[in-house]
Symmetry: D2
Subunit: 306 residues, 4 copies
């Protein structure tokens, strides 16, 4: 079928290529005129037969919001927009409503697949109305992996990015679980063959997983991970997962702990711990008694009222 | 080679069978005379050629301790005992020292494989001295799965059960991460195809894993898990993992949160929450004012000093 | 000075009364005409000399937003609005900006004090511009407790409700800490005099506090808290605290754990735990083997690939 | 009454002094002959009239165990030993049983009071049999603060140190709650008067407490706590609290989080986070693709199977 692709960076460009290989006709637009098929969004829209399908693959947040807003101005009733970026599901819901008022369809699509997606396909998690998703199935069929998995129509608008967000939250918890297990093994001083241990778990165990495979690869390349700094960024999805949990009054202790561990890993020094340390110093009373350990008997003592 | 197997229950019996199929000569002992090859430990020892190898496969704790103690009385220098149960690594270390004083070797072996182990092999995590592990390799080779993974000599005595314990700790964290993701998806009310979502993750995602496969199987059998009570037992390994972390001053937020979630799931009512509720009631002051919501402005008020 | 008070419920009514006792002239408005001094916001505004001060004491969220919006339509440049409710600090910031565009001042004020506030004064946490806060000091001086504490100008608009929010977050953590200690003491079965223990801590200990005093009162009234259900509501402030932490990448493990404990306490059954239980069942393999405990050796076994 | 005091360091020496001021006859023993009243434990025992009372005030662990063992060899049936150190309650229970076999009483006593205890008294938490505690009441009455609080007979042997341990656990949670609140306030950038804010909370709030008083003192001395390193030691009590919770299957999320925050604060670099970072690097695939951000769309991609 015909589709417009907005954003021809690594992800959008590869997806356009995979679609073309699959027999679809793709009109691409990018801010960079060297790689763009058209000079403007308007031209892209004009080159597509109605009812149109336009896939937006630009950074989440403001760029996506602006692109979708602009498209909403020039598309017609019956057309459909797909947001394949990393948008917050709340943004999706707003976009869906705004476009619905104009008769334009909206589908959100969480995408996994990275640089291998061109050849191996992209895992797709889709939210939107049945009719829009159905119409786009030729596109999804081409983009997804060949096997029987890797595609889901999770629910109405927003559901696609929502489950992609939760996927990432689960990922946070799993990664941290592996990290903690590794740290305990190292700290024990009892295990002489750490890499062998993780490698052996690839068969016959409960925790065998793609993350375990990656971990073994990392340990094989750098057995003590000495080349790796012990801090980690977090993406929006981890934060959104926790915020969604708080909104829905769902306790998420593991996923939240994993997020907080990343926060903490990026701190030079913990302000909270300054307070704890300051309070422990206060137990000792006046400065001249600061040598008194707070752990000795009676250290948790109340000073006389002034 | 020749080996004694003590404990011929489902695990020990199957392991004996797999060893026999592999060409080893197994003398089995069980308290149940109907399935025992010999009438006593002493007879078992007498039937084995020196240097002997005796595999103990009885419940962890007192039964294992007593069996190993008894064996220590009747085995000879040069013999070796393998504890294949679920012992605490600290027990292993004590057993290792006690037996070493008599010249008897000790090897601890964490075992995975359950009812499928007979045919598919058991994942083995071994702790002990190089010479003992080497001597027992024909046994391990027969018991382990056929692939290149599923066996590790993790370190000295105790290391086998230690890494099996950590494996289970990681497992706790991963299971809880999946549970939390599922709960958030359900609570959102946004996702209409929950089982499809999890199934789609089996390909092309970061969290694909054997646990995900199991989860999909569970959801396919019972899409809302209505047949499952929302509480979970915990095994010794989870608790030992946390206690080892505390001993080594290693922060284990995710694994501990997963353990605590199991504890909490088994409580009819939380005593801690009674206190929180009682304190909130106290904010409202005297009984006659108990209707005052603690969340309204000024609810967190200090009453007059008596 | 002259002040308008909008919302004459328990909090607003008592504050109006305390202000009158302190010599101020208060014009009160309430939806209930029986207790309202004026028939409309417009009339209230007309009865106040310029530059006016109007204190809004209505429920947070939509009611507060609507009231402030309406006031913004009828007040004049130079007037100032105080929001004394439980608003989210982000709302404050928006209100501040909207009103500033019209030359109207805005001050947010977190209030503690409840039913005792009338006689004992209200703890006030204020955000706003120096000039507005200064002008309102006669009001704050009358409302606050008599001692040297209980009032702070914390920062610009939003800072008042922000620190009140954090106060409540800290409160969550402290309450949960007491609850956990109590639960452990009860579970130990070792402590025969529980109430006496908590009471003894009122002197000479690190944890002496108003919350401890309340806890002793609660235990004296109901030694096993049998009359208290073990679940607790949470107010917006606890959730906002966690969300602010996530926004600022600040790890808040204790306050978040306290919030999640409240969430969990209100669940009949944990969906997350259904998953954990379902996964444990899966370990046992086929239904006919469901009796196999997951904790026994080898329970964490991988079944054969189909 | 007559009492022996073993260990005349800061705590033991001051307690001996307070007891003498209270009219008791104290025979002190210390390894340091310059401050010891007697040359040996045997001489101390000989100088006390039967039935004897001997207070042990030496470091917890091995020194306490050895001292109690030695006393057990030379005391007589009817005598009683008090352990006023920071022993683990499990040690108490063993000591109690061993001494009971010889007819010697044992009382454990958690002590708060530090350097101010000499003048202000020590908070005492006592475990032991009614008859022993009763006989020692003149001693406890002299040592405890003058008010109506600060002493409890919590239960049988072990209960005194158990509740002292739990007190410290609660303390951990409270301190961390204050720390987290402070950190969030600082990170917000919204609060210009931080010290004023905490100080204002000393009246009319839910969180007013001795710890808040200490925190205000610390902030007054060093408003940004720049002179304080953000890390904190932990004492045995915090760890024992968590381990007791795990033993009793009690979820302790807040207290455990506070303990783990201290563990983490002392780490140069988190090994767990090295793993998380290494896994994130692996998402990017081969080294040549390491520039690919893991947060961009599709970053969580599975590489092709080898």
């Amino acid at each position: 079928m015909h589709i417009g692709m907005i954003g021809l960076g690594r992800m959008g460009g590869n997806m356009a290529e995979r679609l073309r290989r699959g027999g679809h006709t793709v009109v691409g637009y990018d801010r960079d005129p060297d790689i763009s098929d058209v000079g403007s969004l308007r031209e892209l829209v004009e080159r597509l037969p109605a009812p149109r399908a336009v896939w937006v693959m630009v950074p989440a947040g403001e760029p996506t919001r602006q692109t979708i807003h602009s498209l909403g101005e020039i598309l017609e009733a019956g057309d459909v927009i797909i947001d394949g970026g990393n948008a917050h599901y709340v943004d999706d819901q707003r976009h869906g409503e705004e476009l619905a008022a104009k008769g334009i369809g909206f589908v959100d699509c969480g995408v996994s697949g990275g640089v291998w997606g061109l050849d191996n396909g992209y895992a797709l998690m889709v939210g939107g109305e049945e009719e829009h998703v159905k119409r786009l199935m030729p596109i999804f069929e081409t983009l997804k992996p060949e096997g029987e998995y890797g595609f889901v129509h999770a629910g109405p608008v927003g559901a696609g990015h929502f489950v992609k967000m939760v996927h990432n939250g689960i990922e946070y918890g799993m990664m941290q679980a592996f990290g903690e297990g590794y740290e305990l093994i190292k700290a024990s001083g009892l295990v002489t063959n750490v890499t062998d241990t993780f490698r052996s778990w690839k068969e016959g165990t409960v925790i065998r997983s793609w993350l375990l495979d990656l971990m073994v690869r990392a340990l094989e390349a750098d057995p003590d991970l000495h080349g790796i700094r012990g801090y980690a960024q977090d993406s929006g999805e981890g934060r959104w997962t926790v915020q969604a949990a708080v909104d829905h009054a769902v306790p998420l202790p593991v996923i939240t702990a994993a997020l907080y561990a990343r926060f903490a890993s990026r701190q030079e020094e913990s302000e909270a711990m300054r307070v704890v340390a300051a309070l422990r110093n206060q137990f000792g009373g006046h400065a001249t008694e600061a040598t008194k350990g707070a752990d000795s008997p009676g250290a948790d003592v109340t000073p006389p009222a002034p």
